[in-house]
């Protein structure tokens, strides 16, 4: 149906020509869902824009052929392309809210497409637009017709984008990271909907994603792209079981899935024995009846509604939930950047919630409670070098100066695996993984007793995530740290934590040992979260530590 041969795309930039895609060939047959997987900059999105001929200014197709049902997509006139777009091939995008015209009613946006492709007249456009909304399972479509994008949730916006894309019954749907930025349960709902619609209408589809697990779950065949070339293709089970190319092997290894330990995320040659962790029964931190209420626009907002839990010395507790569940508020209060409305935070025998957040900088326990921030880029001062960043807590709280300071900084850099030559670089000169290391070095600089990890790997590519997770496990063993790991990613929590707390709407819905919660969830909410997590197929490889024979993907529950 779609044949791409030796496609090459380049961009004219201020620094000369940059090749984004360098000669790739693939096919999409009728009724097939093809996944294109790669990290950002691998050329996967550019490929799809090139097929639609909607490349950004400066981008051109340099070589190769793209044929859709006998039609030359590279050379046909712009007028013909306009007929193909939306009617034959259409697209859905990431960040659905931005993908819709913010000041036009969604119903009218659907009508624009219908009218343009002569699928509707002025008289029946409204009815057809409403039908298109109903087709993507939007309840109360009549009312939604008149809504503006800002009035709808992210998941709802993505459904509208789907409705626009599917309004004219295209034969090929290209989905470009359709669920990035959506909550995990919404992600599943949107992906299931898209898959069902594709199957129902016997369409073909290309799913572009950075998530190998997601692609494996929804696609018939997968292409792995790196630096503008396809390094491997095959069916999901084959790619997961016997990846051929070192790059895809590394990605497969790094993708967390059921039944693996944190070490198995690393390439085999880097795997060392898992460290021995000492967990005591002594509580380090006790949270009692913690509440936080903001003054919102329309009445008070109850972000945290009286939660209680304990973190023992040496323990790693996972705090899981979707956005808006109160997990970030809780961590802000525990790290003493925010004051609680009521409740106690007993740390080392004292209620630290009684010390106001603004005075805590001068408190003697400041050095004991530290945090690794979510976005490494955002958490490093752009005007400070890595050395200055790591020096900050040592100078301010540790009162270190001169040679002692330099020695400690270098010791920390070695501890987190940051080459000393990088210490004098600014954040924009460091890679994502290196920035994460700088952030971790800063957080452990004063050997805190309690470290809060605020989604420390959420912004990282899977292969770097694997390295950072292992580093965190090693540090915990070496320094005897206790962690509170805040995350929306159940896989990450399973790999890192001994104890799990699931939050929803400011309340704890379930907590218990990680093993129990993951394999035998009690609350419905935890069950739905577990069900929504992508389940990559099991693999048939024999590693040094684990002999896994189970290859049946969906039968395996997500447990440790």
């Amino acid at each position: 149906m779609l044949t791409v041969k030796d496609l090459a795309v380049s961009f004219q930039t201020r620094r000369g020509e940059v090749d984004a895609v360098r000669g790739i060939s693939f096919e999409v047959s009728k009724g097939e869902i093809l996944g294109i997987v790669g990290e950002s900059g691998s050329g996967k999105s550019v490929t799809s824009y090139a097929l639609m001929r909607i490349l950004d200014a400066g981008g051109t197709i340099k070589a190769g052929e793209a044929t859709y049902s006998g039609l030359d997509l590279r050379r046909s006139a712009e007028r013909d392309m306009r007929d193909i777009r939306g009617r034959e091939i259409s697209m859905i995008f990431q960040n659905p809210r931005a993908a819709l015209n913010p000041i036009r009613k969604v119903g009218h946006q659907i009508e624009d497409v219908l009218r343009h492709h002569a699928r509707a007249t002025r008289y029946d456009a409204r009815a057809k637009a409403i039908a298109a909304l109903e087709a993507v399972k939007i309840k109360d479509a009549e009312a939604r017709y008149n809504a503006y994008p800002f009035e709808l949730s992210g998941g709802m916006c993505q459904r509208i984008v789907c409705a626009i894309a599917l309004a004219c019954d295209p034969r090929l749907l290209i989905a470009d990271e359709p669920t990035t930025g959506l909550d995990i349960t919404t992600q599943k709902a949107v992906m299931d909907l898209v898959r069902d619609l594709i199957r129902e209408r016997e369409m073909s589809s290309i799913l572009i994603t950075h998530d190998l697990g997601l692609a494996a779950q929804y696609c018939d065949r997968i292409l792995v792209m790196k630096d503008g070339v396809i390094v491997e293709q095959g069916d999901p089970v084959q790619i997961f079981s016997t990846p051929q190319h070192p790059y895809s092997r590394k990605r497969v290894d790094a993708t967390p899935r059921a039944g693996t330990g944190v070490r198995s995320l690393l390439p085999p040659e880097d795997r060392s024995a898992e460290p021995i962790l000492k967990i005591s029964d002594q509580p380090l931190l006790e949270v009692r009846d913690l509440t936080k209420t903001y003054a919102g626009k329309s009445g008070p907002v109850h972000a945290v509604k009286g939660i209680s839990f304990t973190v023992n010395q040496g323990q790693c507790v996972g705090l899981v939930g979707e956005s808006g569940c109160g997990k970030s508020t809780t961590s802000e209060i525990l790290v003493r950047l925010m004051d609680a409305t009521s409740g106690e935070v007993i740390f080392d025998g004292d209620d630290i919630a009684r010390v106001p957040a603004r005075a805590f900088a001068k408190d003697r326990r400041r050095a004991d409670i530290q945090m690794v921030f979510q976005d490494a880029t955002d958490s490093l001062n752009p005007r400070h070098t890595a050395r200055q960043t790591i020096a900050e807590p040592l100078r301010r709280l540790g009162r270190m100066r001169g040679a002692k300071l330099t020695a400690r900084i270098e010791e920390l850099a070695i501890l987190v695996g940051l080459p000393l030559s990088l210490l004098d670089r600014f954040p924009h000169q460091l890679s994502g993984g290196q920035k994460a290391r700088v952030g971790i070095a800063r957080a452990v600089a004063l050997e805190p007793k309690f470290l809060i990890l605020d989604e420390p790997t959420a912004a990282l590519d899977v292969s770097i995530q694997a390295v950072v997770l292992n580093l965190l496990v090693d540090l915990r063993a070496k320094l005897g740290l206790s962690y509170l790991s805040v995350s929306h990613d159940l896989h990450v929590v399973r790999l890192l934590c001994d104890h799990v707390i699931v939050m929803k709407d400011g309340e704890i819905v379930e907590q218990g040992p990680a093993q129990d919660v993951m394999s035998n969830p009690q609350s419905d909410y935890t069950k739905s979260l577990l069900a929504a997590a992508p389940k990559p197929p099991q693999r048939r490889v024999i590693t040094e530590e684990n002999d896994l024979e189970n290859i049946n993907a969906d039968a395996v529950a997500l447990h440790a």
Partner: protein, 292 residues
């Protein structure tokens, strides 16, 4: 761990390299830097180098068109227009630099406070700025100079007051978006007090856009000061100042003696143009994405 060796980063490039790189790609900015140097030169050394005393009258040599002896001609009382135009650079630049410096400092402090602590401080500052901005700014400057008295200092104060809201709003916005940034929170965890976080972590990051604003504002401040003296406020004759020279020359334009008004006006325009180009160039260096 392997990831380091496999992720070679771009060569470390200093800020200076980056500036050179942008300048090479943008000759207009280079020219602007050159013109800026020239302006500074005439402001500093101009009075010592000009061929004639800018205040010396010579009735026998009045209203002479430009010639080899008098490059820009002479005015109605025989003063050399070229000397007056060059000498005026110092006064015009001083007024605008002083005014911009004043509004920069006051605006930064107010903007920092409002942007960082927010709450009622923010509301009060916003109301105050709204009130200033509710006047057409040049008209407010007129009113202030008229009320405070007709002196050069008051021109500076008036220009500073009407510029201040721009700085305060810019700093407020820049501080506000960084108030909860990861690095600001990390600085607090490292034991910094609020004031230290604000002064040493957040404010320095707001400086690049401020510099762009300073450059653009210098041009605007010169325009304002010249405009005020054009309508007879501030500088009084026979002081050499571009606005007042244009005003005096305007009377002779209808009879064809164009050089009296055109040269000082042209110089004024070039000065403002330089600062605007410089501002655009700085914007390129600071943030290539905001190119317009």
């Amino acid at each position: 761990m392997t990831e380091i060796s496999q992720h070679p980063v771009a060569k470390p490039r200093g800020n200076f390299d980056h500036i050179l790189y942008v300048l090479r790609g943008n000759p207009v900015t280079l020219i602007a830097f050159g013109m800026f140097a020239l302006l500074i030169f005439s402001a500093v050394f101009g009075p010592a180098l000009v061929p004639y005393d800018p205040l010396a009258t010579n009735a026998t040599n009045a209203l002479q068109p430009p010639s080899a002896a008098h490059w820009f001609g002479t005015d109605n009382v025989g003063r050399d227009v070229f000397s007056r135009v060059i000498v005026a650079t110092r006064l015009d630049l001083s007024i605008s630099v002083a005014a911009v410096a004043l509004s920069f400092v006051v605006g930064s402090i107010l903007g920092c406070i409002a942007g960082y602590w927010g709450g009622w401080l923010d509301i009060i500052l916003n109301r105050f700025l709204d009130t200033i901005m509710a006047f057409p700014l040049f008209v407010l400057a007129m009113g202030i100079v008229a009320a405070l008295g007709n002196t050069i200092e008051n021109i500076i104060y008036a220009t500073a007051i009407i510029n201040m809201p721009f700085y305060a709003r810019l700093v407020r916005a820049e501080v506000n978006i960084r108030r909860d940034a990861g690095f600001a929170r990390a600085a607090k965890l490292a034991g910094n007090s609020d004031l230290r976080v604000l002064a040493f972590h957040i404010f320095p990051n707001a400086l690049p856009p401020m510099m762009v604003q300073v450059s653009l504002n210098l041009g605007w401040a010169i325009l304002n000061a010249a405009g005020l003296s054009f309508i007879g406020l501030g500088v009084s004759p026979p002081t050499a100042e571009w606005g007042i020279m244009v005003a005096e020359g305007a009377n002779f334009i209808v009879s064809g003696e164009w050089w009296l008004a055109v040269f000082p006006g042209l110089w004024l325009m070039i000065a403002v143009f330089t600062f605007n180009l410089l501002g655009d160039g700085l914007r390129d260096i600071v943030d290539p994405r905001k190119r317009t």
